[in-house]
């Protein structure tokens, strides 16, 4: 039913979304924890920067990334100095771009989950001689589990749905940067509607089932995150 190039695009999309979700779990958790608990005057500015990708058009992000990652940009010069080459037109370039692009979808649900725990459980943990790190892993994380699941689902789904940034820095390379959304766009532009329909339908069904399965299994769904 699906051609090889379509399967390749779907697999690439899934790989991108999974890697981005994992990376953001690692980066987003400490940011969200800090945002939820800090009384620093930096809370406002950091929160605003994290939320920027919600407001910025993908074209702005794509444009700046293209300049920054290029041979004349600071990121491009750094990656070349490190012997990593340049990021545009590569899979890892898409990963870096998507990490920026999906950051708020990881941080914000986690932040509300952490805020929802309140001081009390952590104070109790402290009186039982749990170190702050202990308390985070044994008290805060289990209590915030629904928040983690929501954040991971949203990040994954948002990365699957990413399009504008990928179009601007990807270069449409099969198996490297031609994710499903870009391939669908390609088909539509070329009036290959039959292929566009096939791939779109797969994406629709796939997205729906991923969300359905994850929402149905969500622990504590009745209480809300």
């Amino acid at each position: 039913m699906l051609t090889d190039s379509e399967l390749q695009a779907i697999w690439l999309t899934v790989r991108l979304a999974s890697i981005v979700t994992l990376i953001l779990l690692l980066i987003g958790t400490p940011i969200a924890w800090w945002l939820a608990r800090t009384k620093s005057c930096w809370k406002g500015p950091v929160g605003a920067v994290v939320a920027l990708p919600l407001v910025l058009p993908p074209s702005v992000l794509g444009f700046y990334l293209l300049l920054a990652m290029g041979p004349y940009g600071p990121v491009g010069q750094l990656t070349e100095a490190l012997g990593l080459g340049r990021l545009p037109f590569t899979f890892w370039g898409l990963v870096v771009a998507s990490v920026f692009y999906s950051l708020p979808f990881m941080v914000q649900p986690l932040q509300s989950a952490f805020e929802g725990i309140g001081e009390r459980p952590l104070e109790v943990a402290a009186t039982l001689r749990a170190s702050p790190i202990d308390a985070f892993f044994t008290v805060a994380m289990p209590l915030a589990a629904p928040g983690f699941l929501t954040a991971a689902i949203l990040t994954f789904a948002h990365t699957v749905g990413e399009f504008g940034v990928v179009l601007m820095i990807g270069g449409n390379l099969p198996g490297v940067t031609r994710v499903a959304s870009v391939q669908i766009y390609d088909h539509v532009e070329a009036m290959e509607y039959a292929s566009a329909h096939r791939l779109s339908a797969v994406m629709l069904v796939f997205s729906f089932f991923v969300l359905l399965v994850l929402y149905a299994w969500r622990p504590g769904a009745k209480k809300g995150a």
Partner: protein, 247 residues
Amino acid sequence: MLRKTLFAFTLVTSALACADEVKVAVAANFTAPMQKIAADFEKDTGHKVQLAFGSTGKLYAQISNGAPFEILLAADDTTPAKLEKEGTGVAGSRFTYAIGKLVLWSSQPGFIDDKGDVLNKGNFKHVAIANPKLAPYGAAAIQTLTALKLLDAIQPKFVQGENIAQTHQFVATGNAELGFIALSQVMKDGKIADGSAWIVPTSLHQPILQDAILLDKGKGKTAAEALMKYLRSDPAAAVIMSFGYAL
């Protein structure tokens, strides 16, 4: 507040009603010359011109699906012919407004020699081309590399722009060391403004005949018909040639 809003609304709608406006879909390679021509045309006639840019393939898809354009300036001659056959374009209104020139361009001075030998050297990671399915300049780039028997060697280094403007952007930002674009994109005041370039001999690819066609929605509209005529005038021809096109 409400009164002010209503007043502004009336102003806007009445302005729209008076101005004779023409909506033009323009192939991305013709962006710069068309902006100049449209400005001159507006000054001369008082009509307003609204321009939309994109790859020819994309504009064709939009027009076939009812986009409100009155004129198409394509980057090839097959798309306008197809529109005429399908009845979306006005029969007999087609003409070639420019003959495009393909150029291999790099933003680094001295990177490209004037014979295009750089393609044999292969000291680059990426060659930008426009999506050949959508953009005639991309198709011409493929024909050129095929004629040079270099397609197999260069193809793994391709990065594709969705249209010729994005292709230029990949090269201009240095992310691709070189790329096949339209000469008009790097021409300023009759010469190539910066970087280095090889103007691809027209013998290496089929001529890029860029045709204009009056679309159904522009039939009988004064502004649209005036612009079709203006495109064939001497002042328009002078602008078109100054951007490196032939006529």
